[in-house]
Amino acid sequence: MTVATSGTAILTFPTDEQILITREFDAPRHLVYRAFTEPELVRRWWHAKRGEMKSCEIDLRVGGKWRYVAVAFDGTEVAFHGEYLDIVLEERVVTTEVYEGLPEGVSEEDASTTNTATFTDAGDGRTTLTLLVQAPSKMARDAIVDSGMEAGLQDALDLLEETAGSLR
């Protein structure tokens, strides 16, 4: 069994407070940026094929807010929101992000992350996207992991099948 064969996204943990996702796209930087920042385009990919997006609000300016709401095929709703902290056209977007269904006892402050999306030319009309998720502390990252587990439980059954056999 190999891990992460479902795509070429690379997930790493550079520090105790960070999650880093890297992926290359066969499209020029300005298009990847558009697909990341225009609501009509974000709506088409952010649901990860697990449902559809009920709402996608983007006010792309520093201090502007964003909010994504996705509904899974089983009816489960997940919502995230945040604020734009820094925007460099076609290069970088920095936002805060909070999951709206945090487990009891976890404050928004503790679970809010700062996400930095960086768009870099990779040559041949290709673009490297890196997403750096920075939590305020290791504890916060673990809280995010906990909430992520809750959110992911709905469709984790087949995943469990995959892993349960291997991890005894």
């Binding site: 992460a4 105790d16 088409r44 995943l159």
Partner: protein, 120 residues
């Protein structure tokens, strides 16, 4: 990224399982107990490298080791790590699925641009 085995993160179970090479070791051990030499061969990397990763995995309780004659046999202790392992895979998978969708959107955008160029 290669320096992830540094001291600050080695005691963290999360990092232990999130490092790609170490996940590979965990996957290899999921098939059963194996001696170090076996892992070195399967991974195709130098023994000191493998030993370093195994040490990290041992420190967080992800693997157990026992001596059998001159061999040291490693075995998965997946119970402690399973929730984290599941989460990492789930997180990775949901982003991979998003990016696959994004690929399709980008193909369309590229096509639109080409059509615009040829139309003008």
């Amino acid at each position: 990224m290669r320096s992830m085995a540094r001291a600050a993160t080695t005691a963290d179970a999360f990092n232990a399982v999130a490092e790609p090479r170490r996940r590979q070791i965990l996957d290899l051990l999921s098939g059963g107990e194996r001696p170090v030499n076996d892992l070195v061969r399967a991974l195709g990397v130098a023994q000191p490298q493998v030993s370093k990763h195994l040490r990290v995995l041992r420190e967080v309780g992800a693997v157990d080791v026992r001596g059998d004659g001159r061999q040291r046999l490693y075995r998965l202790n997946g119970h402690a790590l399973k929730p984290i392992h599941d989460w990492v895979k789930e997180y990775e998978r949901s982003w991979s699925e998003r990016f696959d969708q994004l690929d399709a959107v980008l193909e369309e955008l590229k096509q639109e641009e080409e059509d615009d160029d040829s139309g003008n």
